[in-house]
């Protein structure tokens, strides 16, 4: 596995277009539905309402109610129905409004989608894509704001994606739909308005490797999803002060592309993981352990972590912000690592 090259707009023959993460996701759904009649979208308010985050706005008019299906508020059953439809030859995209609600469907995701292939001795694979919004930052408090990516990345049988760029929002869905097994896509709610330039003919991207978003030699910053932006900001600040940090966007949280992470750590000898999740048992813990297992003697300092505070997300803005990793903390963590 090799890391994806730097994705500073590499215009194809068709040039570039500027679009939001939300529009890129919608374009990805549209393209998939035009390409493959087996693809359909279902979930709460994906149709007439246009999607809770307006991702599916306009799709009902374009594709009709058979393929853009509003469901009752029955997470467990519409996710389970997605599994059944996948078994029956369709290629469902199931949208779950937020990661917190997905816990109502966790039984179907873990006990059925992730186990069927193995439990049936290889007879029944589940080509299902589940999309859900994740993360904090919109003052939605303790039942709409969490980052539980690691919970899903814990489960064998699933693939877990966290597109952090507009190009990945545009490109990961098609690859996920081509996958014979269940894929969970986490879309950070703060990314929907992110605007970036992507190739006008941008298409599918690999979902099995991390990307080096910024090259550096002094420390490795490892992150994903909604934390990529502020991690890059921290790297900018560090660069201004003479510390060149390499930034790795994991992109795929299961399976983890540790080759890319370890290659970077062998170069920089220092690592800091930025993870919006609660620290205990988070992906940051797993990555830290794997760095220890794979590159212990390369390390010049303990692996650092900047994680979300271990508290149900509070409503008040200053409290919420205090619970989330911020640029100064990332900068401090890198300085502690480099100075140590």
């Amino acid at each position: 596995m090799t890391a994806l090259a730097l994705e500073r707009a590499a215009p194809g023959a068709a040039g570039t277009v500027r679009m939001t993460y939300r529009d890129a996701m919608r374009e990805a759904i549209r393209a998939a539905m035009h390409t493959d009649t087996r693809v359909f979208l279902m979930g709460e308010d994906v149709g007439r309402y246009g999607g809770c985050y307006a991702v599916s706005k306009g799709l009902l008019e374009e594709f009709g109610p058979e393929r853009i299906r509003d469901t009752p508020l029955s997470e467990s059953t519409f996710v389970g129905a997605g599994i059944g439809a996948a078994l029956g030859g369709m290629r469902p995209i199931v949208e779950v409004m937020t990661v917190n609600f997905s816990l109502l469907a966790l039984d179907q995701i873990m006990n059925t989608a992730a186990t069927l292939l193995h439990m049936s001795g290889g007879q029944f694979n589940v080509p299902l894509v589940i999309r859900m919004a994740t993360g904090a930052g919109r003052q939605l408090a303790a039942q709409h704001s969490h980052s539980l990516e690691g919970l899903y990345a814990h489960i064998p049988g699933l693939k877990v994606l966290a597109p952090a760029t507009v190009a990945d929002a545009r490109g990961m869905l098609a690859t996920a739909l081509d996958d014979p097994d269940p894929v969970v896509i986490f879309e950070h709610a703060l990314l929907y308005n992110l605007e970036q330039e992507i190739a006008a003919d941008a298409g599918p991207v690999p979902i099995d490797r991390a990307a080096v978003r910024r090259a550096g030699t002094d420390a490795t910053l490892i992150t994903f999803g909604g934390m990529l932006g502020r991690t890059l900001d921290a790297a900018d600040q560090l660069a201004a002060a003479g510390t060149r940090a390499e930034v790795i966007d994991l992109r795929t949280l299961r399976p983890l592309d540790m080759d890319t992470v370890l290659a970077s750590v062998r170069k920089t000898h220092r690592a800091v993981i930025v993870d919006e999740e609660w620290r205990s048992g988070s992906l940051s813990a797993e990555i830290s352990a794997r760095i220890m297992e794979g590159a212990f003697y390369e390390l010049d300092a303990p692996v650092g972590r900047v994680c979300g505070a271990e508290v149900p997300m509070p409503y008040a803005r200053h409290m919420e912000q205090a619970a989330l990793p911020q640029v100064p903390q990332i900068v401090d963590a890198v300085r502690a690592t480099v100075g140590g």
């Binding site: 059953t77 389970g80 059944g84 078994l87 059925t112 439990m119």
Partner: protein
């Protein structure tokens, strides 16, 4: 029609000609003998894990399977040996699975609770109570969206009726008018909890009415009644009339699993139900009608016994899966894990 309307009663010759009647009897006997042997093999420690026997409930699976075509789908529970056998999964592959062998119908990775078979569209073998209902809804949705007139039969117990997924799945199937035949096997106990201790309304068919799903209560101890009900309901489902529900009143004669001292029900109650044994009563009825001779009855027993012997020999001689393949089938082979 709803639970309040009477199911058209089965004509006295619902089993049709003698050959069909004998086939119904044969399938029930096959299930009974296979499972009796399973119990012995459990004591002999050839079968391990949880083992849930269907003994007493055979008329439900056998009757319902008569109404299904080869390309229909079946979703079952963890008490599914009978459903698998009646659906056409071989006794050899079922037994090999319980022995944990690689030639078992799930390659030894499923066991008693997770029998699967793609060839007969048998989707398990689900050990999460109620977990199969959404799956059935999705299979039916796929059929609907691809313009196929197939039926998905979904078996579940009275325990599942207490799960949220029962209500969610019935509602969604009804809202989308999907071709699901919901088959509730009401054996009066959710493990050890009696129905009337768990349900405010013990007429389970009545619950379907709140989703505008036609439903009937059926004598689950009478294979002619179960077949007739399943045929009637599945024809309506296949004709596009939306989901239907059948509540089969039945009873398991054995313990819930092999670890159950049966403290929650009386011996008298068990004996009362045993007197309604679906095999013995149907056999008696066929003899009365002159459709079953002693020779035929003996032949059915002999064949079932031979089939079980053969299955056990096959399972005992079957290879174990190479432990080097431990992590196989976590992801599809073509894709990189």
């Amino acid at each position: 029609m709803t639970a309040t309307a009477a199911m058209p009663t089965a004509p006295p010759t619902a089993a049709g000609d003698g050959a069909h009647a004998l086939a119904l009897l044969r399938d029930m006997v096959r299930i009974r003998r296979l499972e009796e042997r399973c119990a012995d093999l459990y004591q002999a420690e050839k079968i391990r894990g949880f083992l849930h026997l269907y003994i007493g409930e055979e008329a439900v699976a056998v009757g319902v399977m008569q109404a299904l075509a080869a390309d229909d789908a079946v979703v079952a529970t963890y008490r599914e040996h009978g459903h698998a056998l009646a659906r056409g999964v071989s006794a050899r592959r079922i037994m090999a699975e319980m022995f944990g062998r690689s030639t078992g119908c799930s390659g030894g990775r499923g066991g008693s609770m997770h029998l699967f078979d793609a060839a007969t569209r048998f989707y398990g073998g689900n050990a999460i109570v109620g977990g199969g209902l959404p799956l059935a809804v999705g299979l039916a949705l796929a059929d609907r969206m691809q313009g196929r007139d197939r039926v998905t039969a979904c078996f579940f117990g009275d325990g599942a009726v207490a799960e949220g997924e029962f209500h969610e799945a019935l509602n969604l199937a009804a809202v989308w008018r999907l071709p699901v035949l919901f088959c509730c096997e009401n054996n009066l106990y959710a493990m050890g909890t009696a129905l009337d201790r768990a349900q405010a309304e013990t007429n389970l068919a009545l619950k379907a009415a709140s989703y505008r799903i036609p439903a009937w209560t059926v004598d689950g101890m009478d294979v002619e009644a179960t077949e007739h009900a399943a045929r009637t309901a599945s024809e309506a489902v296949r004709a596009g009339e939306g989901p239907h529900l059948l509540e089969f009143r039945t009873y398991r004669f054995r313990a819930h699993s092999m670890f159950d001292p049966e403290l929650y029900r009386s011996r008298e109650e068990v004996e009362e139900w045993k007197a309604r044994c679906p095999i013995a009563t149907f056999e008696g009825r066929l003899r009365q009608r002159g459709l079953l001779t002693d020779e035929q009855a003996q032949e059915i027993e002999r064949a079932a016994s031979a089939e079980v012997d053969d299955a056990v020999a096959f399972a005992d001689g079957a290879p174990l899966e190479d432990v080097a393949t431990l992590t196989r089938h976590v992801y599809s082979e073509a894709a990189s894990p």
